[in-house]
Amino acid sequence: MRTTAPAGGVPRRAERRRRPSTAQLAAALGTGALLLGGLGAGSATAARAAHASRGATVTFAEPPDATPNAIFPIATAGNTAAYNSAIQAELYVPLTFYDATSGKLAFDQRASVAKSIVYSDGDKTVTVTLEKLKWSDGTPVTSRDVQFFFNLVKANKDKWANYVAGQFPDNVATFTIVNPSTFRLRLTTSVNPLWFSGNELSLVTPLPQQAWDVESASGKVGNYDLTTSGAKAVFDYLNGQDNHLATFGTNKLWKVTDGPFTLGSWTTGGAVTLEKSSTYDGPDAAHLSSVQLLPFTSADAEFNVLRSGGLDYGYVPTSDLSQSKFLESKGYTIKPWNGWAINYSPYNFNNPVLGSTLKQLYVRQALQMAIDQPAISKAVWQGEAAPVYGPVPQSPPSPYLSATQKANPYPFNPSKAKRLLESHGWKIGTNGLMTCKSAGTGASQCGAGVKAGTVLDLHMLSESGSTQTTNQMEVMQSELASIGVGFQASYAPLNTVLSETAQCKPTQASCSWQMSFFGTQGSWYFSPSPNGDPLFASTGSANFGSYDSPVADKLAVAATTSSNPAALRAWSAYLAVQLPAMWLPLPAYQVSAIKDNLKGVSQDPLAGQTIQRWYLANG
């Protein structure tokens, strides 16, 4: 049919009627075909859920963007994530395992290879007796397997991520095998037994010497670890195998285990399946036949699957906590998972602009009293954060928490905070900010090193990516403004914040940071004994703000060496008052959503997991 068109090319009515059907059909076909194609194939999530409800498998959500990437229990740099350790502990039982399943932090013997630990000779000798366990190849777990671990880390301590100079294995003078089930460590100095068992021996994992003492894939098993060069070669071989994620599920090395689970599969994307070990004969056998640990690209992706009922054990992003009721109606229990941790923002005492000001205790006291932690916990973190008043975790209950810290030495009191500044020579200037008007070291003056005209205007470098953290910074800005203190936050990825929050000298360009925050999930997670050694000790590697107090140093040393928890309480009390950092509310490690029929779950504050104790109520 011939047509004519006016300028602009609009066709006749008859043509117009037909054309839309082409476009619409295409659109409908395109979308429809996709949808129909999808409908027929069923839902993977539904399949997951159905599978779990049969009692065979439980699904567990790994943290967002977490990819388990190491199976070898001697962690090297970059492989120390808690999810790696949690998986490894299910396959290779650690020498000592500490958790809070009993309500307080304690040695969990059932989840440990050590049966008893005896200190003698003024706490310079440790004798450890082992539980009767066997490897999956039928060989018993012996003292030789512990010695194998010891030899490997001793010869390769520069590669071991948990190595701290002067500590394990440096502080072990001799390792003696008494008999197959007992070994003895002669230490270089007396130690605090709680610290040594909890923080040092918990790093040790007996390894299957009879299977892993090899230098190459084709080599024969020997006793190579007994020499330094041999131990280096063995370590390099095992560590090399640990770099091949795709082979974890098939590599015969990793098939020899002594834990309640064996490895079913491990994908390069981070999906890990643990299967109940048929050879485990210890006191802590797994209840479930298998557990799937699933990776998620983001918290949103995880939450979508959770809302659809596709997970047995997941988490609720803090920004979605308002949907808790919905999840409860879908058969989930919502439980915060609180860490054995503290949250704080370090001050940079060497900052060339405000370092001298921040060194004044009264300034830190005023700043702390201006922060309303309970209100921030409630309003910003929707109740899933707990105030922090010092360097020792506030919960669970422990003998290390001092009464001073527990009682909060600096409760929220902005008017008192303002008066405190004013009583030391500060006045609100024309810019609306506290300005030092009376320089000097007198009782009513600003203090040593604080120049007249110094403006109390703080800059915070905070991690980005969390609405709650951003909101917290805004609340802090408002609260500090109420006492005349300026506060500006800038945001960067966590990695950048950690890199920039470095110890520095005032003359260095890198010393421009004043305060930093990296605690969206808690700033510092402790080992069972929270001696805090590297945190606020003048030579501590994690003393980011260069806090320098001989008293704190002395107390930290005492806490490490004394067996009396009172030593740690003294450290707690002193630093709670001295404020080496600004204490801030500690958010839960995660807010978990656990299917009602999944029982036996204990959310260990040390971030460990005893998956072997999970079971399904209807299973």
Binding site: V10, E15, R16, A26, T45, N304, N495
Partner: protein, 317 residues
Amino acid sequence: MGRFVVHRAAQAAVVVVLVTVVTFLLLHALPGGPARGILGLKATRIQIEQFDKANGFDESLPQQYWSYLVRLLHGNLGTSYKLNQSVSSLLVERVPKTLLLTAMSTAVALFVAVPLGVWQALHRHRVGDHVTSSLALIGYATPTFFLALVLVIVFAEKWPLLPPEAPQGTSISSLLAHFSGLVLPIVTGAVTTLAAFSRYVRSSVLDNLAEDYVRTARAKGVSERRVVWIHVLRNSLTSLVALLGYYLPVLFGGAVVVESIYNYPGVGLLFWNAAQQSDYPVLLGVVLVISVATVVGSLAADLAQAAIDPRVRGALR
């Protein structure tokens, strides 16, 4: 034509080298470096120094770049600090996944956008045109994450017809075996692209409808259907083909938001996470792949245009 291809290939090689230089310099200009982020808060100064030494960060920048180039020429893209996997294995695993998702999204978008754009042009300023144009603009303006969440809530929760996440396999066959999981990511990716493409086609068709050759064709008695769907559409698509050529890096780069929300770890997300974690080897690897895709895409676009349009062919000679 042969000389043209050789000339463009040489240009492309220079561009790729320059891109690696600029990326390398920018990455190393970032404050701090990756050690603290990778090793964690508890890392000691000695451990950080050892990490820097092991990864060559204690060398001068030119030395570091030279080492990188040497490794690159040996096919070694390095190892991810964070993922404990070689960059090449990560790319081999993720590039096909991203290509599958973005190519299917683009195909769906084209399948709908081309006829829709033509129809809009033919019905310019009519109610249907206004309605579809408005819908296209809404689609274009809708934030991807919002659209994705709405689709999940509607099709995975309200009416649980489709999975809320993409298939978790690593091979193309395993992904296609669970095609239902790809539907929502594909639709999400297609909607915004569709809107852009349909607007582009509409405008291009309108331009061509005003050309002399259309009037000539009609005067010669060619049917309107033939005029529109053969003559006009062919000429309108030449510019779309060019657009698609330049779209190639997007196909490789992936869609971070779609991958993030649908739990589909592709190249886009790999790059985003690597940037957050200062995972330099991964960043350099992905940038290399995308820059190669960009120059190859532009070359392919030129060649495709030449194949379609004799005028372009003549110009290339």
